[in-house]
Structure formats: C-alpha cells, structure tokens
C-alpha cells in the first residue's frame, strides 16, 4: 500500500481513515501526541456483535425516519392546496396532480426506499406500513382536492350533461293557414 501517494493520476495524496492497524511502525507518519490505540484493542467477537447491533438499531431508526418523511410532505401539500384555492386553473391543477402523483410514485417504490435498511434483524414491517399509510393519506388528500375542484364525476350532472334529448313518439305540425 502506498500511502500519501496518489493511486490515480488525478490524486496527489490520500489518507485512509479506515486504517485500523495497531502498530504505529507500519506508518510513515507517527501518531499524534496523546493518541492511543488502546480503545480499538478489544475482543474481536464482541466487537463485531456490538457493531452489528448498533448498525441494525441505526437502520431501524433510519427506516422509521424514512417512513415518517411523507408526513412532512403531507403537511406541505395540504398547505399548498389551501393556498391554491378551489377554482380550476393552472396552479391548482398542477398542485393537485403533483399531490396525486407523489404518493403513487412513492408507493410504487416502497421496496426501493427501504432497500438500504434491509437486514435480517431489522423488522421493516412497521415502517413500511406507516409509509404506505401516510402515502395513502396523501393520495386521499389529492383525491379530496380533485373532488373539491369538481373534477371527479360524483354528481348526477356529470353523467347526464351530455345526454341527448329523448325522442318523441308523436309528431305534430301545422299552424296558421298559409
């Protein structure tokens, strides 16, 4: 290993922070004063277990965080919708459709979102359910907005507005004599 020298052409120097070797003699540079390598001198097995625990904890925590992220989004969307008002124009339609599209795309990529936190020890069901629920909530908000804009065919008028007039059985003509 050549330390301090660039491996590629572009690099002039590099420090490998992950270097965990204990013997200072293997380095070009002496340890800084007061630095001791005792802390890492631990039992190998306990070290790895502890490390894994911490990692899975961290992953779970992260997963919950990710699962809760749509909530913020939801709040923001709600605010935007309130701002957009109930008249149909470019802005309100844009907002509404993004409010519909975001949850749908998020739901499509549920697996992908939680991919990094996948672990045997980590139970991702809770975060996933929360994530889905929040996104569904977002979707519902979008649909509600769509409805309040009057774009959902929920009224009778939406179904009969293009109904042609009924035909008449009888036919009558005439009037004042020519």
């Amino acid at each position: 290993m050549e330390k301090g020298k660039g491996v590629t052409i572009g690099r002039r120097w590099a420090i490998d922070f992950t270097d965990s070797s204990t013997s200072p003699s293997s380095r070009d540079i002496p340890d800084p004063p007061g630095f001791s390598r005792v802390s890492v001198e631990l039992d190998d097995s306990s070290l790895s277990r502890q490390k894994k625990d911490a990692e899975s904890n961290w992953k779970l925590q992260k997963a919950w965080e990710v699962a809760q992220a749509p909530f913020k989004n939801l709040m923001m969307m709600g605010f935007m919708m309130w701002m957009a008002g109930n008249t149909v124009h470019l802005f309100s339609i844009g907002i509404t459709f993004s409010a519909l599209w975001q949850p749908i795309s998020a739901l499509q990529g549920v697996g992908k979102v939680f991919e990094p936190f996948k672990d045997k020890k980590v139970d991702l069901l809770g975060p996933k359910l929360l994530f889905i629920a929040l996104n569904l909530g977002g979707l519902a908000l979008g649909v509600w907005k769509l409805n309040s804009l009057g774009l959902l065919p929920t009224h009778a008028s939406d179904w009969v507005s293009s109904l042609p007039p009924a035909q008449e059985v009888e036919y009558s003509g005439g009037g004042i004599p020519l």
Partner: protein, 980 residues
C-alpha cells in the same frame, strides 16, 4: 362601498361577455350587403341638363330612388314605411323630386342631386279617395303643384311646400282623372257619380275657383278606370263591359259615343282591358295575348289602327321637340324583345324598330318608360327603361341591354339553404405549384403586416388577398361548411340561388308553374321546403326544394306545387295545380332516395301525402297513428287539433289522401282574447343535451318537445296600434300548448300590455317582445320550461350503470309535470323580427338576433334573458356566468351584427348552422340583403382567418435549427472536455 364593489365587479364581468364585433379592416371579409329597390312603378328621367344623367323611380316596396342611367347604380334611395305607399312621383323645378304618398295625404320634395328632403306637407281631407299628382310643366317659373287626395284638391308651392289653396270637391264624386291641358291655367277633374253619371269640374289653377261643373248620365253606365286619350277625350268601359264609351267635353258639354267591343277587336277571347298609358289621341286595348291600338277621332269615333301579335307594354307619350309625339311598344317574342317607337301623329312612321336578345328568361314586359336624347348626328335616339315580369329592371339603348337590375330580390318571400356539390378529385400539378407560390407570397406579406414592416402598397395587397382569400366563392363544399347556396323565392315567382361567399346569383329561374296561365290568374308563391337533401346513399342525386304556391290569395284556391333542382334551377317534377293548400306539414321521414315526406292539408281537412310513391306510403302507414296536426284560426280564436282517420272518400280514388277528425279544440273567449302570434320551434333545430347544470352541480331537466306552440293573445280592443287602449283595458296572455294533446302547459297574463308580439322559440325557452302600457316601454320576457317528472333521476350509481329511462322515447300523453321559470326586462328597441342562432350540434351558446326598427340586427346573448338572474348572484352563480339582474337589457353597440350597414325594410332573419360548431350563418332580408357569419362563443374550434401559418412554420423551423446547433455544440464541447 358595496355598490362600488358591485359596479367594479359588473364592469369586470361585462367586459368578459363575448362581443361579436369586428375591426374596420374586417368589414366585407365574411359579410356582404346588397341594395335593391323593388319593382318599379313610376319612373321619371332627368337627362336634360348635362352632368349625371339619372332616372328617378318609385317602387312597390315604397322606395324612391335615383339611379345612374349609365350603370344602373343607386345614387340615393329612401325607403318609406310599409304604410306609406307612394302614389306618384314627378320632378318639379328641375331640382326637386316630388312624391305623393299615403293615399294622397303626404307630399314630399326631395333634393334631386343628393336626395335630402327639402320639404314635406301633409294634405288633409275628409274621405279616402284616389290620389293624383300634377306637376305642371317642366319650366322653372311654374311653381304650383296640384295634388288630389282624400277628396280634396290642393295647390302647393313647389318652392317651400306651402299650401296655396284647397278645394273640396263634392261628396259622391269619384275622381278618375286630373288633367291640365298643356300651357293652360285650367284644371279638369273628371270622375263618376254613382255608376252612370259622368262629372267634370273645371277649376282655375291659380286661385282654386270652381269655374264650371258639368255632369251627364250615360245610358250604359261605367265600370273600371277612365283612360285619358287626349286633353278632353276619355275612354272607359260601360257597366256591362261589352261597350267602349268615349266621353268628350267640348264647350262645357259632355257627349258620349258607344261602340261594341267586337267592332274593335275581332275574335274576342277573354277579358278586354284598357292600357293605362297616356297616348295622344290613341289608346290600347289588351285582349288575351295581343293589343289593339285605337284612335279616337274628333267626333269621338273609334278607328282601329293596328294590332300586335304578342302581349305588349306601352310607354307614355313623349313629346319630341318639333311637335311630334312618340311612344314605345315593347313586345316579347320568344327570347327576343322587340321595341318599336312610333309617331303618334303619323301611325305608319316608326322612329325605331329594334330586336334585342334576351339571354335570360324574364317573363313578360310589364312596364316601359321612354326617354329620348339627341345623338351627335342630330337625330333622335331613344332609351327605354323596361320592367319585366320578374321585377327586374333593364335599360335598352341602341339595340342592346345596357344594364339590368335584379330587383326581384327586394321582395323575398321565403329562404332555404342547400349544400354545394362535393369537390371532385384531381387537381393539376401546375395549379398546385401556382397556388403554393401564391400561398407563400400571401403569408409572407401577412408576416410583414404583423411585424409592421409592410408598406402602404403591401397593406392594400394584404387586404385584397384577404378579400379574395380561401376561395370563398368557389362552387364546391368547403371543410367548414361556410359555402352554401341560399335558395330564395321572390314575390314575382322567380327563384334565385345566391352563393353565401359573395352573394352573387348562381342561377335564377322564373318558375313556369308560378306564371299566369289558364285557370290560374294570379299565382302567388308561398313557401319553400327541403324536398330532397341527399347524403349517404343518394349522393349522386341533386338536392331539390319544394315550392308551394297558390292560384290567387284565397285559401280555397287551388294550390301549385313544384320541385326545383337546386344545382341547375330546373323544375324537376311540377305537379302543377292541385287541391287547395292550407297547411304544409314536413314529416321527419324520408324515403330511400332521401325525399322528405310532406303532408299537405287542404281546406276540407283532408291530408295529402307527397311524394306520391308506394314506398313513401308504406313509411307513412307505419307512423300513421303518430301523426297529428293543429290549425290556428286567428279570426275565430280557435285552435284545433286533428288526427288522421282513414283514406279519403272521394269520387276519384286517391290512396295518398287521408281524411281526418278533430281531436281537441281550444276556444279563446272572443270578447277578451284575440290570437296575435303563434310560434313553434324550428323543426330542424338540434339540441345537444336535455340536462341543465347549474351552480353547485345542481341539475334540472329541460322539457324539450317539438310539439309545443307558443300562443299570444290580447284583448281585442288592444289589438290595434300602441296607445289605442288604456292599460286597464288591455292585457296580454301567453300560452304554451301541447299540439298533440291540446293540453295547456302554461298560461301567463301580462296586465296592461299589448302587442305586437314578436317571439322566438328554441330548445326549452321562449323569448317574446311586447309593449308595456303602464311603463310606456317595450318589454322582453323569457319563459323556460323544465320537466319536473325527470328531476328524481339524481342517483349517480344508477346513472353510471345506465339504469334510467332518460333517453327512452316519450309520449305527449304521459302527462309530464312542467315547471316554468319566467322573467321580464325592459328593452329599448322597437323590434321587427326576432331570431336565434343555430349551430350544428347545439353545444354553442345562443344569441338572440333582433331586427330593430332601425333596420339593423342586434345580437343579444341569451345569458341576459335567463330567468335565473337575481340582483345579487352567489359566488357560485357568478362563476357559472349568471349575470346580475338589471331592469333593462343592455344594448352593446359593438354587438350589432350588421355593424354600420342597414338592411332597409327588414323582414326576416334566417340562421343556418355550419359544420364548424362555433359558427352560424346569418342571412337577413328586406329590401336589402345582408349576409354574415357569427360565432356566439367566439371561434373556439378554429384558428382565426388571419392566423399567420407562415410565422408558425418559421418559428418551428428556427426552433429545429436551434436544437440541432445546440446539440452539435454540446457534443463538441463534451469531446473537448474528454480530451483535456
């Protein structure tokens, strides 16, 4: 504050209304306007002085006009009202046109060069009578005009119209002629007292003193009009119409001479009539198809001069300078007209005989007006103004027709439309290349115009291109359906096809079946109906129209039927004279050749089916029980409904004839109600939907029925002029009546109102216009009809799966519950006629087209006559487009469809849908014709005509170039980056 907010809101809202106005340079792009004068009654030439040679005419449409003698163009024109019939015209002082009108009670002078009125005086009298006008001499020192009207002789100064003297003639005398011998100061007024007395007055023209009065009884009596033969000789028929009587006044003595008509006319067939032409010493007798000229000698004897071989028209006698008098005889001989100008003194001497080819059939010659001029070689030339049977006006000079005017178009009876033929395939390459070049050039010019780079010359060029743009006068169908044929029936029995693109006459045809013939003395055209409109499987046939007419004006006269090919103008299948026709009911069925079935009702209540073929009969028999009709008897105040019973029981068996029976009748109380108007929906109107969606997604179902009639009645006392009844004794009642069952769906009373009522019925609403006597203003009311029995159909799920009966056929017997909404508004204009725009699918909102008393057409958005209008509409209603209620309807100057033009004597507005849903064609007729197209909701389905396609193409091209350039640049840059 609230008011201010309201006003601001209102201004904002009203600025959003669609206004169908146009820019100055758009005038004439899609509209055309044609001016006519009608059938000429009198003509006076004004050619003595140098300068513009003109002829002043008065017509049966009550127009007085000055025409250019060189080209026939109108210098000026005045249309007097329908009640102001022009009796006579003349020229006085060489600078005034004098018109006597309204049965001799109004005398007006119009300035000859520009047509401005110089003075007007009204002549009063005690009783209605004939009217005569005498403008003595043509010299400038004679300033007294003698007018007879209402039983009084009036002398009026032609300088200022002041009444000089007035002389009431004895009651009981019926004045027939007013004569002033040339250069004399005496006036003779001759006429009948009773049926056998001949009376003559001699009056001093300067003072009005009665100098002499003579009367003498003739043994045979008199009938008909008196013809003036010379200054003191008159000719008339006796009471039995078998003898000619000559009357001579000499030295105050009246003497009679009688001759049996057969002494003058041999082989007398038909009725003899005297020709009303002022010939010196000569008169003409018309018998059958020829004319006999008779000279009256000094002793009152008749001497037959000659006979023409054809029916002839005579002009009045025209003095030529050296004591000679000339007159013109015009005869029609096949497709040639023969003009003979004869010398009155010397019968054998003809000044002129000319034969002129008539390329077009114009029927008989009705009137001739002769005028002379001096040629460069000092000989006399003659020009004759000829009025033909089809009301056209020709000027004959030097053996040719100098100009013609199609003035039959001033008296249109009915209008219908037809599609043009489909464009044939196969356009030559050269044409394409040429048009492509032209197209590009035109668009480049347009781009220049848009970018304000065009020079004035180019601007003119652009305007020219726009005017002749897009082949709007081509004889084929266009994509948008703007090009059509207007089929027009005129009073003269002539049918015209006008092109909607530029208004030119494509063909015209004097209908043979509407011409005078044996057994049909006075045929009149009544209506036009679509007979055959081929589409789908009968495309190789030409469309045709059915012309319905009648012999004479009485209802029980025999009817005339004729089918006219719309592309050629030929009469295809003239049935000729048939049974009497009181109603025509076009049925909604067609046979396999797309001929529409028509039911013609005669005065006996029998129904006759047309076309007469077995297929039509089969189709009709299938629908036999569902065909009804109704008749409105306005005189007796009865509306009756009828249904068909069985085939007729006539002597001759006719399987196309059906007898009928009365089904219902509505009798209006004759002492309180008189029918003044009935309106129905147009049978070909298309309605898009039966539902009306209102604010907050509320839903109402329209009651759409074609079997509805709107009837307006007024108190008989108030059926006259406005102001003839007080508000307390006048009321207007409007009804909506189902014409199948006779059920009165709605009745509404407007107290203190009276007619005339002008109404329009469309979809589920009626708008009508009447006079409110209490408010002293015109009002417009609207009634909208909704079907309450359908209102329960509000379950969304049922509607989604289609479990409803909203589209199943309905019967009038199912007793629908009706809900009507109504509202009234003041309207500033007096209205002549109301119509409504119609579009192909009925989606576009509608405009009311109101023909105003000023002969203009105003477009009024239907939103203004919406019964749901309230003073303070809610936010949702505002969003829906509901206009806040105001007490009167706004008149927006920009929404005049006719912009700056006038359609004089406006009588009708016809709207025609185009293929483009947004657009409707409007044809307005009266004395003038006007055509335009309007888009009530703007042209939302097409780009505007002046849209610059070139600019669009250039933009696209530039963008494409930019894309390629930037793509190339970015590629290059990336490569450089990689090499670094």
């Amino acid at each position: 504050m609230a008011i201010r907010v309201f006003v601001v809101l209102f201004i904002l809202l009203s600025s959003s209304y669609t206004i169908s106005s146009l820019y100055e340079d758009q005038v004439g792009l899609m509209d055309w306007h044609q001016q006519y004068i009608g059938k000429v009654k009198h003509a006076v030439f004004h050619t003595q002085k140098a300068g513009r040679k003109r002829v002043v005419v008065s017509t049966e449409e009550n127009v007085v006009a000055s025409l250019d003698l060189r080209r026939g163009e109108i210098y000026w024109r005045h249309v007097l009202g329908a009640g102001d019939v022009i009796d006579q015209i003349d020229i006085a002082l060489g600078k005034y046109v004098i018109t006597l009108s309204s049965a001799g009670s109004t005398l007006r002078a119009w300035n000859l060069p520009d047509g401005q009125m110089a003075w007007e005086s009204s002549l009063s009298g005690s009783k209605p009578s004939n009217s005569f006008l005498l403008v003595p001499g043509k010299s400038e020192k004679d300033t007294v005009i003698i007018a007879y009207g209402n039983g009084c002789l009036h002398a009026i100064s032609s300088v200022d119209g002041e009444l000089l003297w007035k002389k009431e003639l004895d009651e009981g005398i019926e004045i027939q002629q007013l004569v002033q011998p040339f250069g004399s100061e005496l006036i003779y007024a001759v006429g009948y007292i009773g049926s056998s007395q001949f009376a003559a007055y001699q009056i001093n023209a300067d003072t009005g003193d009665l100098l002499k009065y003579e009367s003498e009884a003739s043994p045979g009596g008199f009938s008909g009009e008196i013809v003036l033969v010379s200054g003191e000789t008159f000719v008339a028929f006796d009471a039995t119409q078998t003898h000619l009587v000559s009357v001579k006044i000499r030295n105050g003595k009246i003497s009679f001479q009688q001759t049996h008509i057969s002494n003058i006319v041999d082989n007398l067939s038909g009725k003899a009539t005297l020709l009303q032409s002022k010939l010196a010493g000569i008169f003409g007798v018309n018998v059958g198809t020829y004319t006999t000229f008779v000279k009256v000698t000094d002793e009152g004897q008749f001497v037959v001069l000659s006979k023409t071989s054809h029916a002839a028209a005579l002009s009045d006698v025209l003095p030529i300078s050296d004591g000679h008098f000339a007159f013109s005889i015009i005869q029609l001989d096949g497709d040639k007209i023969q003009q003979t100008v004869k010398d009155v003194e010397d019968w054998g001497n003809d000044f002129l005989i000319e034969r002129i080819d008539m390329t077009e059939k114009r029927g008989l010659v009705h009137k001739v007006f002769l005028n002379n001029y001096i040629k460069t070689d000092r000989s006399y030339g003659f020009r004759a103004l000829v009025v033909m049977e089809d009301h056209s006006l020709l000027l004959l000079q030097q053996g040719e027709i100098v100009w013609t005017r199609e003035d039959g178009l001033a008296s249109i009876i009915d209008v219908t439309t037809s599609e043009l033929p489909i464009e044939k395939q196969g356009v030559s390459v050269a044409k394409v290349e040429q048009t492509l070049f032209e197209w590009l050039k035109g668009h480049l010019l347009k781009v220049k115009g848009t970018l304000m780079l065009a020079t004035p010359d180019e601007v003119a060029e652009i305007q020219k291109i726009r005017l002749q743009s897009s082949g709007k006068s081509k004889m084929t169908r266009d994509h948008n359906g703007f090009r059509k044929l207007l089929i027009v029936l005129s009073k003269s029995g002539k049918i015209f096809a006008l092109h909607t693109g530029d208004g030119r006459i494509v063909w015209s045809q004097l209908l043979r079946s509407l011409q005078k013939s044996e057994g049909c003395e006075f045929p009149v055209g009544l209506n036009l109906y679509h007979w055959q409109v081929p589409h789908h499987h009968a495309l190789d046939e030409n469309p045709s129209v059915l012309v319905v007419g009648r012999c004479g004006s009485k209802l029980d006269n025999p009817g005339v039927l004729s089918v006219v090919d719309v592309y050629t103008g030929n009469e295809v299948n003239p049935w000729g004279h048939v049974h009497s026709i009181s109603q025509v009911v076009p049925l909604p069925f067609t046979d396999s050749t797309e001929q529409r079935l028509h039911l013609l009702i005669d005065t006996h209540g029998n129904a006759h089916l047309y076309p007469t073929n077995t297929e039509a009969l089969e189709i009709f028999q299938r629908e036999f029980t569902n065909v009804y009709w109704y008749s409105v008897e306005a005189d007796t105040g009865i509306i009756k409904g009828h249904t068909l019973k069985s085939t007729c029981t006539l002597e001759v068996e006719d399987k196309y004839c059906f007898s009928s029976r009365d089904l219902w009748s509505i009798v209006f109380p004759s002492e309180s109600e008189k029918i003044i108007a009935t309106v129905t929906r147009k049978p070909n109107e298309v309605v898009h939907t039966q539902a009306k969606v209102m604010a907050e997604q509320e839903l109402m179902y329209k009651y759409i029925s074609k079997n509805l009639v709107f009837v307006a009645t007024v108190t008989p006392k108030a059926s006259g002029e406005i102001g003839s009844a007080t508000p307390d004794e006048s009321q207007l009642v409007v009804y909506l009546i189902d014409t199948v069952t006779g059920r009165i769906l709605n009745r509404m009373v407007h107290h203190g109102s009276q007619g005339p009522v002008h109404a329009v019925f469309s979809e589920n609403w009626v708008v009508y216009h009447y006079f409110n006597l209490r408010a002293h203003r015109y009002e417009m009311s609207v009634i909208e009809i909704y079907d309450q029995s359908r209102a329960d159909n509000k379950d969304v799920l049922k509607l989604i799966v289609g479990k409803h009966n909203l589209t199943s056929p309905v019967s009038s017997y199912s007793r629908p519950e009706i809900l009507t909404k109504s509202q009234s508004y003041f309207f500033a204009h007096t209205v002549k006629v109301v119509a409504v725009t119609s579009t192909a699918k009925g989606i576009t909102s509608r405009h009311l087209l109101i023909g105003t008393v000023g002969d203009q057409v105003l477009a009024l958005d239907k939103r203004f006559v919406d019964p749901r209008r309230t003073a303070n509409p809610t936010q949702a209603e505002r969003e829906e487009g509901l206009v806040p209620l105001t007490d009167s309807l706004p008149i927006i100057p920009q929404s005049y469809v006719t912009h700056g033009l006038k359609v004089e004597g406006l009588r009708g507005i016809v709207t025609i849908p185009t293929k483009l849903e947004s657009t409707s064609l409007v044809f307005t007729y009266g004395v003038d014709l006007f055509f335009t197209r309007i888009a009530p909701s703007k042209t939302y389905d097409s780009l505007t005509e002046d849209f610059s396609y070139a600019l669009l193409l250039i933009t696209i091209f530039v963008l494409l170039v930019a894309i390629f350039v930037t793509w190339y640049l970015s590629e290059k840059k990336e490569l450089e980056e990689k090499w670094r």
